[in-house]
Symmetry: C2
Subunit: 163 residues, 2 copies
């Protein structure tokens, strides 16, 4: 692995680490109480299983990124790392997609199913969730880049006869 490649990879992993930590912190601190028809209700991420899954997925990616950053000097496991990068890309993509789907219902509702939007009542909660989703999206994109980068350097140019 050349020096430039290692610097780019580690930089991408640092961005992913920051993005996953930010996603976890912003999602976990999302919490707002509102009064609707004299009934107080509290919106928090732990009320929605998909947001819990999002936090768990970001935490797994965060821990993995940290371990790989620490181990980066040893290249014995590089093939395992390419495969685990693919797994992390899938995990992050899955969690951001599920969370986005629910956040969309929270924002716009679904009149056909009778699900009303809740962002009008708990705007701060929605802002937090939006922030967390943006961070999660950055993490997923960075991991996709890392994977393409790893695949490219492992396989060589995209076009060519198989050796």
């Amino acid at each position: 692995m050349t020096m430039t490649k290692r610097i780019i990879t580690n930089l991408l992993r640092l961005i992913a680490l920051g993005a996953t930590v930010a996603a976890i912190v912003v999602m976990v601190t999302s919490h707002q109480s509102a009064e609707v028809f004299n009934l107080t209700f509290t919106a928090k991420f732990s009320n929605e299983p998909v947001f819990k899954y999002f936090v768990v997925a970001e935490a797994i990616a965060c821990g993995y990124t940290l371990v790989v950053l620490i181990l980066s000097s040893r290249s014995l496991l590089w093939r395992l790392i390419v495969i685990l990068d693919a797994v992390m890309t899938a995990v992050l993509t899955s969690s951001i997609s599920a969370a986005l789907a629910i956040a969309r219902v929270g924002k716009k509702g679904n009149s056909h199913a009778g699900w009303l939007p809740i962002c009008g009542q708990v705007p701060k909660f929605c802002d937090h969730v939006t922030g967390a989703l943006v961070c999660g999206f950055v993490a997923a994109i960075v991991y996709a880049l890392l994977l393409v980068f790893s695949l490219y350097s492992a396989l060589g140019p995209v076009f060519g006869v198989k050796p």
Copy 2:
């Protein structure tokens, strides 16, 4: 590429092709009207943007699988195919996760947000969606296997020093 490997890969792609076609057909034919409080409402997949995204994602994977099956005898593009397999795995994972998140709300609702489950009113619609999700899940798993298989045969054994 050895003969055994080609047979396994093509078999996996055929399963993925069947699963995506089944997912599209079962999802598109989901349609049920119900009467609640003297109001007739119709549940169909096109009322929920996430289910539309699911169908589009499955269609893309289906078309791609077909093209790769036809081109399989030529191996000039094999590196591109490894990368596109990774992209398809991500697309399928994303669509199944988003659809599952919404289907869960349809099945169980979310009492904190005031979203009521709808499966009691439209059980046939829910059965169709469940069937489509199972097919989509099979397709995603098969693509994940294809990717790990391609990575393994492209990179060699998981443990080893980088060449």
